[in-house]
Symmetry: C2
Subunit: 439 residues, 2 copies
């Protein structure tokens, strides 16, 4: 497994709030004294640009304050600063046998708010990422319907549309932890998780248009990739909040997210949100396809498999501080993280810094959307001693995120999917943060 | 001025919902018949990937359904499909004298929802886009404060943070229309407009930390670019909802949006949200700097200049259908657009298809955030006749977006900034949509 864990005391990438090369507030006035005659005080007189001005400025004014920058449209489609190159998706070599049926993880430790940048949305493909031509792409709706349909993208984009903010979490997210494998960073423990503003057509609209049979109970969704991945969705979900989406965070879907069309099943494990969607079949029984019988099943303690376990139950994780980071200074720190529930809205998040003995309720960042990532924050003063950081989510059904002990009492230890147990990060007196399992 | 206006009946780029190469719903069954024995019906059996399978599939199955796609992490930081190359920022050659003090416009006609993709956020620079090293960057707070401060980025990122969704609109947006210049597309009429989820520290927190003088009434913000751009913010705003932000749509600010630090003054013309922020000075008078006296002033009918006109008043625009697009088919179309107000929330949007004689109230997409773009939608059946499409925003103060006649009665015709008049798109019987001014 590759890692972005950093050796202690080595100056890390600049995007990281905790990994400061200079230490916290105590340094303010020292640096103020060092700088006050120089760069910043000099800036007060800078009211116009140009070479003449640049020649008259003190030599310690930064280069970028003395010269013209890049012209407009340096990038017709903009990209992050080169100083942010460390903020990227990462794979876990050896996790899968081929890079075509594999995973890349979202760098949750570097993100803010609740929207995941589309360029950092985790990937999970079963036969690689196809390049689908939207002019040729079609969606067929057939089976137990009065009027089968084949739609072009242009047809679909004429329907009344909606935009909604929802998370997608792979059912296997945090899967390594079932076997007590403490992967080093939150990118690897929880990074098969993302949240976007999706735009598309309610599936109920398309089913109405096709005239679905009232005896129908299920819909099969099929992708246009080489895997032709298929998953069953219940008709209850299909008529509730399932969308056929073409938009992601304001623009067309990214190729790795199903361009030009995907299913979006809010609150349900990611595999059900079939990408490169080409076919919807209406029927009265679940299909029991390969991805519903060989994979995406839960092996229970008694030896039986649990099948069609759709919902991603309430879960949360602290993203800062988190595994692989180093706290360089005692004193004030903001603990922040993400919470979500496949059942509805996050109602409350509690945070413990002593491994679950004492809990404080975190602030929830508004707005709190249903079946969407919710950002929580808590003020914390680190005294320099050891700490065990945990977060615990409660959703609006009253369900409370379980401990590992509680989860294993029901589910055993041989599962891959649907691990929503409380995550623990250990803070050493050295400031190092690491992944430990607390039962 | 460059244009992305397309000749009638020429097949346009695929991202456009109205510009369909094949026509609407009437084509469904015809295409269904043509395809039913081929691509899509054949897809039902595709349950695994690989070369062997591909050899057994009918030849009219698309290439991407017969082969492996790109491996995981084809892009560690993802990019849009190559089929979306037409969705890009555009400049308006000749609008400014140099490409370093210029503008690029957001392609509003191609966007969904309310979040603007960071790569498509409009640009406005005064001395080009600097490349600021976040390790060297500092923010100084001084003036009428008890304890002047100089902060590093790491210092700032340790403060308690918030995330909020807000629009930024350049004060000069829609400025060409004052002089009756009907620029062809909504990208050029309204494209100095974007909306993001911003993350940072409330300015009030930093002012408290510095111990601001209770007699202080203004704050000056200064950028670290070659222009050293400066703008005054009132203390009332500074203590209300102004933010010092480092995060945009989940990641660090983009370079062209002020990386690594900018001011964000919600509801106020974009120039006040100073990019590459390096200095905040607290004082008791406005500074009357170059960008507050020579520019960003409103020339009134009597010959006087109006100065410090901060607020972007309630405004809206239909983005689809809009200028340069072609409606290829009669029948159902969804009219959609954006509404916003610098005073608070959008309360209602009315839409007219006959130049303002009759109005219908549009659906507002939830959530409606304060000082944020709000998406509206209205069902419309085009009968093939001429139409004049308009939208009219009302905010939660009761203010109603004016007509050009109403706006000019107060403001005259010699302004550049703060044009929030009702926009009209004319639909010809040919289906062509163009920009016209209706008083």
């Amino acid at each position: 497994m590759s890692s972005n864990r950093r050796p202690r005391r080595i100056v890390p990438a600049p995007e990281h709030p905790l990994a400061a090369p200079s230490s916290g507030r105590r340094g303010f006035l020292r640096r103020a004294a060092a700088l006050s005659g120089g760069a910043l005080a000099g800036g007060a007189g800078v009211a116009a640009a140009g070479a003449e001005l640049a020649r008259n400025l003190p030599p310690n004014v930064p280069e970028w304050s003395r010269t013209l920058g890049a012209p407009i449209l340096a990038s017709p489609y903009g990209v992050p600063s080169r100083f942010e190159a460390n903020v990227r998706r990462r794979e876990s070599p050896g996790l899968t046998r081929t890079p075509h049926s594999s995973v890349s993880f979202t760098p949750l430790q570097s993100l803010f708010g609740i929207v995941t940048p589309s360029g950092l949305h985790f990937e999970r493909h079963h036969a690689g990422m196809p390049e689908v031509d939207p002019h040729q792409h079609r969606l067929m709706i057939h089976g137990m319907v009065r009027a089968p349909r084949i739609y072009s993208m242009e047809d679909l984009m004429r329907f009344p549309s909606v935009s909604r903010v929802h998370f997608i979490e792979c059912g296997a997210n945090t899967g390594m932890e079932w076997a007590n494998v403490a992967v080093p960073t939150v990118q690897y423990t929880h990074g098969m998780l993302a949240c976007s503003e999706w735009t598309g057509v309610p599936l109920s609209t398309l089913l109405d248009e096709a005239g679905y049979d009232r005896k129908a109970r299920f819909v099969l969704a099929e992708g246009a990739d080489g895997a032709g991945l298929t998953r069953t969705v219940s008709m209850a979900m299909a008529l509730d909040d399932v969308l056929v989406v073409y938009g992601q965070n304001g623009e067309m879907l990214r190729p790795e997210q199903g361009y030009p069309l995907r299913l979006l099943v809010p609150g349900v494990q990611g595999v059900s949100s079939v990408k490169w969607l080409r076919r919807l079949e209406v029927g009265d029984q679940p299909w029991n396809t390969r991805e519903e019988s060989l994979h995406y099943v839960d092996l229970m303690p008694g030896g039986k498999h649990r099948q069609y376990t759709w919902i991603q139950e309430a879960k949360s994780v602290i993203t800062t501080p988190s595994g692989g980071q180093v706290i360089l200074d005692r004193g004030y720190h903001e603990i922040t993280g993400l919470a979500w529930s496949g059942r509805g809205k996050v109602k409350r998040v509690d945070v413990s810094t002593d491994g679950g003995r004492n809990w404080r309720t975190a602030r929830l960042q508004e707005p709190v959307h249903t079946k969407a990532l919710t950002r929580f924050r808590l003020d914390w003063t680190w005294d320099g001693g050891p700490a065990l950081l945990q977060s615990r989510c409660m959703d609006d059904t009253g369900y409370v995120q379980p401990t590992y002990r509680q989860l294993r009492a029901v589910r055993g230890t041989r599962s891959i999917y649907h691990n929503n147990a409380i995550q623990t990060w250990r803070v050493d007196p050295s400031g190092e943060v690491s992944n430990v399992q607390v039962l």
